[in-house]
C-alpha cells in the first residue's frame, strides 16, 4: 500500500509539487496574522467609508467603477453599517468586528495570483521551470504581499487581469470570450485595466488575421470567425462594465451625497432626488440653472448670485454697480422666469426663440450683462444682477432662449432641454468661463458672456430644474432610461478619475516606479515603532527591467541574424517565436499600463498603481530566463540560482516593514532604507 502511494507520488510532475508548495507559502505570507494591525490602514479608510453608503442605499460615485465595493458590501454587509468605524486611518476596529474576515478576501485572491501566473507562463509555451520561476517571483514580492493583506481593490484587479491574459492565450473562442469577460470585470474594478483591454483587442486582431489568412479554412468561414473574435473582444467587456454599473445604480436608488455631480435628468431618476411639477418651463416658473456637462474643478455648476457687488475697479476706472453672479457647485439659488413686457403672461410656455427676464429669487435682482470686462477673463463681458426699478429698463436685461436639442418640439423642457441664453442688447451668450474667482469669490466659478465662435459653438449649455410650487404636491418621477444613466455614471467616473487631487506626501511619479524608488507608509505604531510600508522587492523589480531589456535586445539581434539568411535550427526559431509572442502580450501590457499612468492620469499617483505592470514583468522575466537557459545552460543556471536567492533574500530583509514587526532601534530602520528616496519616518 505504502509502496503504491510512493510510486504514485514519484509520478507526479515536479511542477505540480512546486506550485502547490509555493501556493502554500504564498498562503502563509498573505493570509497569516491578518488581524494585525487591528486598525484602519491607509486606503481602507476610503474603501470603507464609500462602501458604507450602500447600506443606506444612497447614491454615490467614486473615482473608480464600483465592482470591488459592491462585492465587499454584499459579502460583509454588517461591516459597513456605520461610517464611524471607517472614519480615519489608525482608528481601532471595534471588538465585534475583526478585520481578519474582511481582509481574507483580498488575501485569498492575492494567493491565487501565484498559480495563475504559473498558468500564464505555461500557456505562453514555456517550460514548467520558467513557470515556477514566475510563481516564485510573485510569491516573494513584498509589494504584492502587502497589497493583498489589506482591504484594497488591487489584488482583485490583478487576479482578473491575469485570468484575462490566461484565457486569451488559449486557442479557443470560448476561452477568448471568458477572457473578455474577465477584462470587463477588471475594468469594473479599476479603470487602469483599460490598458490591458487594448492588449486583448490587439490579440483579437492578430488572431482574426491568422484565421483569415489560413488557407485551410474557407474565406467566409475564416472571415466570420475573425469578426467574431474582434467583436467579442470589444463588446463583451463594455457589456460587463455596463452590467456592473447597472447593478450598482439599482442598489443605490436613493438620493445621496453625490447627486449634485450628475445631470438634472439623472437626479430626477433617484428616489428623493429632483422632482418636477411639469415638463415645460413656463413664464412664472421658478427654476435652478445648471451648466450641462462636467465643469472642472467640481464637476457641477449652478448659476448663483450673491448680494455683494464685484469688489473690482478696472484700469479705466470703471467698475460694476451690479451684484455678483457666480457659478456654484451646489444648489444655491433659484431664478424666476418672467416675460420682459407682459407680466401677466403667467403659465405661458417658454419656447425656442422667446424672450425672458431672469430674476434672482432671493435678492430680486435681474440677470444682466454689459460692456464691462469680466472679473478674471478680461475679454469677456461681466454678468451681474441689477434692480429693475433703477435706471435699467427691462429691455436692457432681456435674454433670448435658444433651445439646442429641440427635437421638433420647440418647447423649453424642464431637465431635458439644453438651452443657450443670448443677451439681446449685446448679442453675447451666457457661459461659465472655467476660471475660479479670486479669494473674494470664495472658490466660486466665474460667469461671463461671450460671442459665439466661428462654428457657432457656445462653451456652456444650460439646463433648467424647476422647483415645485407649494400647491402642487403630486410629483412624478421621471423614469429615465437606465442605459443613459449608466453611461452618464461611467462618464462622470472617468471625469473624476482625471481630476488631480491635492498633493500627498507619499505621491510619486511613474518614472520612480520601475526601480522601486518610492515607498508609502501605511501604518505606524509609535509605542513599538512598528511600521508598515509599501515597498517593492528591489531585487526582482530592478532585475526584471534588466532581464526584460536583454530579452528585447536578444529578439532584435535574432531578427537581424535571420534577415541575413543564416540557417537557423528549428528549435531556436521556435524559441524566438515564443519570446516574441510573450513580449507582444506581456511587454505591451507593461508598456500600455505605464503609458496610461504617464499620459492619462493626473497627480497624485502612487507606487501601488504600478502593480499590474509588475506582475507582467515577473512573468516576462521568467520567460526571458528560460531563453537564456537555452543559450548557455550552465552559466544561466548559476545566474538564475543567484538571482532567485537574492530575490528571496531581499524579501527577507524587507519583511519587517511588510508585516509591521516591532523594530527596536533606529539603525535597524536605517538599514532598511535601501533607496535614499524611501520615506521611512525615523523618530
Amino acid at each position: 500500500m505504502l509502496q503504491k502511494f510512493m510510486d504514485y507520488l514519484c509520478k507526479i510532475d515536479h511542477g505540480i509539487v512546486g506550485i502547490c508548495f509555493l501556493t502554500v507559502v504564498g498562503m502563509y505570507n498573505r493570509c497569516c496574522d491578518l488581524h494585525y494591525p487591528n486598525s484602519v490602514t491607509f486606503d481602507e479608510v476610503h474603501y470603507g467609508s464609500v462602501t458604507t453608503l450602500y447600506s443606506s442605499q444612497r447614491f454615490h460615485i467614486d473615482k473608480q467603477p464600483p465592482l470591488f465595493r459592491l462585492l465587499l458590501f454584499n459579502l460583509f454587509p454588517n461591516y459597513f453599517s456605520t461610517v464611524s468605524m471607517w472614519e480615519n486611518i489608525g482608528k481601532d476596529f471595534p471588538d465585534q468586528f475583526s478585520p481578519q474576515a474582511i481582509r481574507l478576501l483580498p488575501a485569498i485572491l492575492g494567493t491565487l495570483l501565484i498559480p495563475t501566473a504559473f498558468g500564464v507562463v505555461l500557456k505562453l509555451g514555456f517550460t514548467v521551470d520558467a513557470a515556477l520561476l514566475a510563481a516564485i517571483l510573485v510569491t516573494f514580492d513584498n509589494a504584492l504581499v502587502i497589497q493583498s493583506r489589506f482591504m484594497v481593490a488591487d489584488s482583485l484587479q490583478l487576479i482578473l487581469v491575469l485570468l484575462s491574459i490566461f484565457f486569451a492565450v488559449i486557442k479557443s473562442w470560448f476561452c477568448f470570450v471568458l477572457s473578455s469577460i474577465f477584462i470587463g470585470l477588471a475594468m469594473s474594478v479599476h479603470l487602469s485595466s483599460l490598458a490591458l483591454w487594448i492588449v486583448i483587442i490587439m490579440l483579437a486582431l492578430s488572431k482574426a488575421w491568422e484565421i483569415c489568412t489560413d488557407r485551410k479554412v474557407s474565406l467566409a468561414h475564416g472571415f466570420g470567425k475573425g469578426c467574431l473574435y474582434i467583436v467579442s473582444s470589444i463588446l463583451v467587456p463594455i457589456f460587463v462594465l455596463l452590467m456592473c454599473t447597472t447593478v450598482h445604480l439599482k442598489s443605490v436608488n436613493l438620493s445621496g451625497p453625490h447627486d449634485i455631480l450628475m445631470s438634472s435628468t439623472f437626479q430626477a431618476s433617484l428616489d428623493g432626488g429632483l422632482k418636477s411639477d411639469g415638463s415645460i418651463v413656463k413664464y412664472g416658473s421658478v427654476i435652478r440653472l445648471r451648466a450641462t456637462g462636467d465643469i472642472p474643478p467640481y464637476g457641477s455648476c449652478y448659476l448663483n448670485s450673491i448680494a455683494q457687488i464685484y469688489p473690482l475697479t478696472h484700469e479705466d476706472g470703471r467698475g460694476s454697480s451690479g451684484q455678483q453672479v457666480v457659478g456654484c457647485s451646489y444648489k444655491a439659488s433659484s431664478w424666476n422666469v418672467l416675460h420682459p413686457t407682459n407680466f401677466d403672461s403667467q403659465n405661458m410656455e417658454v419656447r425656442d426663440g422667446d424672450f425672458i427676464l431672469l430674476i434672482h429669487s432671493n435678492t430680486n435682482g435681474t440677470l444682466n450683462t454689459h460692456d464691462v470686462a469680466a472679473p478674471v477673463s478680461k475679454y469677456k463681458q461681466e454678468v451681474s444682477c441689477v434692480n429693475l426699478n433703477e435706471m435699467h429698463s427691462p429691455k436692457m436685461q432681456t435674454w433670448k432662449v435658444h433651445v439646442v436639442n429641440t427635437n421638433g418640439n420647440k418647447a423649453w423642457k424642464n431637465l431635458h432641454s439644453k438651452v443657450l441664453f443670448e443677451h439681446v442688447n449685446t448679442g453675447f451668450y451666457l457661459v461659465v468661463t472655467g476660471n475660479t474667482l479670486p479669494e473674494w469669490g470664495l472658490g466660486s466659478l466665474e460667469v461671463a458672456t461671450e460671442g459665439l465662435d466661428e462654428t457657432g459653438d457656445c462653451a456652456t449649455e444650460w439646463n433648467a430644474e424647476t422647483i415645485p410650487s407649494s400647491k402642487k404636491t403630486s410629483s412624478y418621477k421621471i423614469i429615465h432610461e437606465t442605459f443613459n444613466n449608466v453611461v452618464e455614471y461611467l462618464g462622470m467616473t472617468w471625469f473624476l478619475s482625471l481630476q488631480s487631487g491635492p498633493d500627498h506626501r507619499f505621491a510619486s511619479e511613474p518614472y520612480e516606479w520601475p526601480f522601486g524608488q518610492s515607498s508609502i507608509a501605511y501604518w505606524y505604531n509609535s509605542t513599538t515603532n512598528a511600521q508598515l510600508h509599501f515597498t517593492g522587492n528591489i531585487a526582482s523589480w530592478c532585475g526584471g527591467i534588466l532581464i526584460s531589456s536583454l530579452l528585447i535586445i536578444n529578439c532584435i539581434l535574432f531578427a537581424l541574424y535571420q534577415r541575413r539568411n543564416h540557417a537557423i535550427a528549428n528549435d531556436r526559431l521556435h524559441l524566438w517565436q515564443k519570446s516574441v509572442y510573450a513580449l507582444m502580450i506581456l511587454g505591451s501590457a507593461y508598456v500600455f499600463h505605464m503609458a496610461y499612468y504617464i499620459i492619462v492620469v493626473p497627480s497624485p499617483k502612487f507606487a501601488y498603481q504600478y502593480l499590474p505592470s509588475v506582475v507582467c514583468l515577473h512573468m516576462l522575466q521568467a520567460c526571458a530566463l528560460e531563453v537564456f537557459y537555452c543559450y548557455c545552460e550552465r552559466l544561466a543556471l548559476i545566474v538564475i540560482f543567484i538571482y532567485v536567492a537574492s530575490v528571496i533574500w531581499c524579501y527577507w530583509i524587507l519583511r519587517s516593514i511588510t508585516f509591521g514587526f516591532a523594530t527596536k532601534c533606529q539603525e535597524e530602520l536605517e538599514h532598511l532604507q535601501l533607496w535614499q528616496s524611501w520615506d521611512l519616518p525615523l523618530t
Partner: protein, 582 residues
Amino acid sequence: MQSSLLFVCITFIGVTSRLFRINEPRYVCWDETHFGKMAGFYINRTMFACVHPPLGKLIIATIGLAGGYDGHFSFTQPGDTYYTENGTLLTPYITMRVGCAIFGTLMISAVYCIIYTLTKSVGAAVLSSMLLICDVAMVTLSRYILLDPIMLFFMFASVLGVVKASALQTRCSKQDKSFTSYWWGWLVFTGICLGCTLSVKLVGAFTVMFVGAWAIADLWKLLGDTEMVSLQLLGKHFAARVLCLIFLPIAIYVGVFYFHFHILHQSSDDDIFYSSKFQSTLHGNLLHKKSMPMHITFKSSLTMRNTLIEGMFLHSHPHYYPNMLEQYSQQVTGYKIRDGNNWWNIEPVIQQAKKLMDNVPLHDGDLISLHHMVTNKSLSVVIDKNDKWHAAPIFYWNSMVASISRQNSSGNDYKNWKIELKALQNRSSGICAVDCVFKLVNVAARCCLFASLKKLPGWGKDQYEISCYHGRRYEQGCWWHAEEVLPSSNAATTAIKPPSFLTNLFESHKVMFHLNSKLKKKYGDRVSKPWHWAVNYKASMISWIVTKTCSSEKFSFNFAAATIFQERGQAISHRNSSGLVD
C-alpha cells in the same frame, strides 16, 4: 526637361498665391505679436524665455534686419497697426512676411521634388503640389510672420533629402551611386535640414522619427541583400547614417543655441526664469559683473534663492499667518522678485560665538541662525506648547516656518539651522556665494527648509509657500544658494564665475519645458481637438476687424494639423500619386 519646366511653373504659381495682397491686413495678426516681438529681441539683443528653440525666430530676425527693422516696434498685441496715423510705416513687416512666404513656397517645391522622385510621374507631382497651393490653410499659414512656414520648409526638405539619397541606391551594382559625392550631398542635406527643423520647433522631433524610420527601412533592405551587400559595406552604410542623421542634426541644434547665447546678452523681465548664474551673464542685470565676498562668513548679510526653476527668494514680511498668535508667526514666504525684505543676517549660534571672528568663512556643517534684516526676527520652525511642530498651510505634512521675535526664548533650539553642502562640492574651503548650493537643516525639528511651487492663499499676498520638510524624497525643493552678499570691510572679493555653455543649454531647456507645461487647456477655451483637424471641422481665426473694408482672413483649420501632424501634405500627395502611378 518637362519636369524642370513644370517645377519652375509650380514655384511661380506658389509664389504668386502666397504673395498676393501680402501687405493686408495692415496690423499685427495673431501670433505675429510673439514672433515679431522676439525678432525684435534678437535685434535688441535682449534675453527672453520662450517655448520654442531659437532658429525660426533668428531667421525672422535676420529677414527683419535685412528689411531695416531696428527692433523698436514692439508688436505689443494683435490689432496694433503697422502705420502711424499719417501713413508712415513703423516697421518693415512686409519684408518679414515675404520672407516667411518664400519659405512657404519652397515647401511646395520640395513636395514637388519628393513626389517626382518617388513616382517618376510628372502628373502626380503636379497634382500634389497643386493641392498644396490650393489649400487655403497652407496659404494663410504661409503669409504671416510665423514659425510654421519655416518649419514646414525644413521638414519637407529633410524628407526630400532622404528620399533622394535612397533613390540613388539600387540593387544593380553598376548603377548604385552609394557613397558618391552626390549621395553624400543629399545625406548631409537631410542632416542639416533635420537639425534646422528641430531648432525651429520641437514638434520637428516627429520628422526626425519619420526620417529615422526611413533610414532603418533602407538598412533593413540592405541587410536582406546578402549577395550584393557585404557586412563591411553594411557597416559603412550604417556609420554614414549615424553620422549624418544623428550627429549632424545634434551639432546643428547645439550650434544654433550657441549662436543664440552669443547674440543675446541684455537683461529683461524674463530674467526671473533663469538661475542667478545665468543672470550674471546679462548686461543690465543686478548681478552682472558684480563683485562679491569670496565666502559667506558668520556675520554676512545676504539674500538666498532656491535652485528650482523660477527659483524664489527666502522672504519675510510683517504680516502674520492667519489663526496664529502674532508673536509666533510672522510669515516666511518665497518671493520671485528682488526686494528689501529678502535680506537676512547670519549669526553664529551662541555657544560658538566666542571663537569666531568676523571673517571666518562658513563651512559645511556649521550651525547658524538667520535673522530677517528689516524686522529683526529670526527664522524658526513653529512649535506649539507641547513642543510639537505646527503643520504648514499647504504641504500639511511639512512643518510651518515663521520669523519669531528674538526675545521669545521658548524653543530656541528651533532657531538653529545647520548648513549642509550638496554632495560633489568642495567641502574644504568655505561656502561661497552663488556657486555653493546648500541645504538648511533645522537641527531640533530634523527637517530642511523647503520651497514648494504652491501659491499661498490671499493672506500670503500671492507669494509661495516655504516650509520645513521632514522626508528625503523631494530634495529638489531644499536646495538654496546665497545670491547677493553684502561685502564686509576687509574680505577678499571675487566675481561670479560665468556658467559654461552646456550648463546654459541645459538650463534653457529646463525653462522651455517648464513654460510649456504651464500652457494647459481649461474649460471654455476655444481650442480644436485633433479629430477636428482631419475633417477640417473648425476654423481658427487669425485676424478680424470690423471696418468698412472688412478684411477678414479666415483660416480653414489645418493650422494645427499642419504643425502637429506635419506629414499631412505628404499624405495627400501620396494618396494621389499612388492612384496615378499604379
